[in-house]
């Protein structure tokens, strides 16, 4: 059984943090994971930096650029993760673009993920049909979860479809925006979250894209099993006081 499932057995209010591997420094990744785990974050999403992050906002784009300049790449990341594999108990999710998966060699990629303690993967630009046709079996073989996204633009029947394919949880994009747009929750997103609730999905949900503070996180928790914070977290990182800045940020959300 995948540890993501363990997580959602124990109720709601799950906090997931997204950050970019190799940012602010090439070797920050390991340290950030360790500190996040200490500060009681429930789930960690690691972004694999990409040259052309189509679906990401400015903050994540910039962190991607810096991380790439720092020399981050999948081989680097996998070997960094392997070093701390034994200490990590929170589920790790890897988020990247399909081309990175493809170019690396899909099966090698999944194999490396498995060996590095990764539990699930998100490829925001990998179409459902292609996943089902070409990769679903392979994910199962490596016991990795494929996590789907739904947005307020997604019709009900497609949400049902995606929730059936998605494993572990469903990633609910809370507002019509790329990450980091920092618009606080508006009326419209709530209508969308209500719509999701009314579908009575059998899979847990995490809300992401637009959560920046305690308020918005709590709101997300009212409608879903928790929330994902990315841009706001990345922006809060202080290169010279990684530990302090992370603790302060997480504390500002949780307490």
């Amino acid at each position: 059984m995948n540890i993501i499932d363990h997580l959602f057995k124990k109720g709601k209010n799950k906090l997931s943090i997204y950050f970019t591997a190799g940012y602010p420094k090439l070797n920050s990744t390991k340290k950030i994971i360790q500190i996040l785990q200490q500060s009681k974050v429930n789930l960690i999403e690691i972004g694999l930096p990409y040259s052309d992050p189509m679906a990401d906002g400015l903050i994540i784009q910039k962190s991607n650029k810096k991380a790439l300049k720092n020399g981050m790449n999948p081989d680097q990341l996998f070997s960094q993760l392997q070093l701390i594999q034994n200490e990590i108990q929170v589920p790790l999710i890897l988020m990247g673009y399909y081309n990175q998966f493809l170019k690396f060699g899909e099966e090698s990629f999944l194999n490396c993920c498995k060996k590095s303690g990764i539990s699930g993967l998100i490829f925001p630009d990998l179409p459902l049909e292609i996943y089902k046709e070409k990769y679903q079996k392979l994910f199962e073989k490596y016991e990795l979860y494929f996590i789907c996204l739904v947005t307020s633009q997604t019709p009900d029947n497609r949400i049902l479809l995606l929730s059936n394919i998605s494993k572990g949880f469903l990633y609910v994009v809370s507002s019509i925006s790329t990450t980091g747009q920092n618009k606080d929750f508006e009326t419209d997103p709530l209508i969308f979250l209500n719509r999701i609730n009314n579908l009575n999905l059998s899979i847990p949900t995490l809300v992401g894209f637009g959560i920046a503070n305690k308020n918005s996180f709590n709101l997300a928790c009212q409608y879903a099993n928790g929330g994902i914070i990315g841009s706001a977290f990345i922006q809060s990182l202080d290169e010279n006081d990684l530990e302090g800045s992370i603790h302060r940020f997480i504390a500002s959300i949780l307490y």
Binding site: M54, L102, L126, T151, I176, T178
Partner: protein, 396 residues
Amino acid sequence: MNSYLDDKNGFYGDFGGTFIPEILWINFKELKDSYESIILDPSFNKKFESLLNNYVGRPTPLFYCNELSKKYKTNIYLKREDLNHTGSHKINNTIGQALFAKQLGKKKIIAETGAGQHGIATATVCSLLSLECIIFMGETDILRQAINVSKMKMLGAKIIPATTGNKTLKDAINEALRYWINHPECYYLIGSVVGPHPYPKIVAYFQSIISKEIKKQLQEKKGITQPNYIITCIGGGSNSIGAFYHFLENASVKLIAVESAGLGIYTNKTAATTIQGSKGVIHGSLTFVMQDKYGQIIDPYSISAGMDYPGIGPMHANLFHTQRVKFFNVTDNDVLQAAYEISQIEGIIPALESAHALAILPKISFKKEDIVVINLSGRGDKDLKNYIRHLNQFLK
């Protein structure tokens, strides 16, 4: 329908597809569900062709080049896309897509541009059809192409600078896609046969007017149904597919696409995608793309802004893969040479992009009786600065 262009779920052989974030899924569903019924509709085509004829100035001539033919000991025709309104083939596509967007009820158009040709063509059509227009353009390109920026502004378009990456074409497309994600009510009017399905198919269809006319004109002028060669430049591939379209099934028509070698294919200053690139996804499409071993897109280089793209359209990836189209490449220097040659013997200053197609002439041995059609995709006004810089080198 054409077997090379007949997609199976948006794929041409192994290439194509719709690799987009979920948030755009509904937009693409709308496109996929409606595009065939709209753009194949006779009344739509009537409107389209009427604007092509009355506004763009089509049909463009198929011009027999006396001197060039003598020099290369064959029969060379130029398809004069340079004579279109706004100066290149780009307008064929923008007219088509803007009409399509109107049919979909859209009021606001977004588009990317590199050197500015597609941006101007889009701003032009939006002005004509009373659509709001936002153009994304890399900050570097905005500085390099100040005149074209002013043209777009004069036409009423709003320009948004792309400040990420290399701040050129690729980044402008990223920025446009991101904007679209945040404003899904817009219509994204893409500028070449690239991007997620069904864009390549839509753009190819609108550009296919080029080969439709070539076919008719060869019949009228020479009483023949096909040429021996069609030669095009390829940046994204829109002028190329347009010129090939109606001849793809005629295996005896030799189709040639010329890429930019930049400073040379073995330098890291090149845009020769089929040589330097490999299978990968760029801008939502699985195709050939210049990338490193981790799938990071490599910044291309070409003297010509319109050739300066790290990918090719998925149809061309398939045409390359199946060897239906032969790919060549020429260096910046070859291109300048060719541009000066045709200026001085035929009185036509070509776009740097189009000069790529011409630059291949010395590298192929044609038969005396061959009929060679070169697609002259655009005029060189926008490239004068570059040409001037090399004036002394090439003046005879």
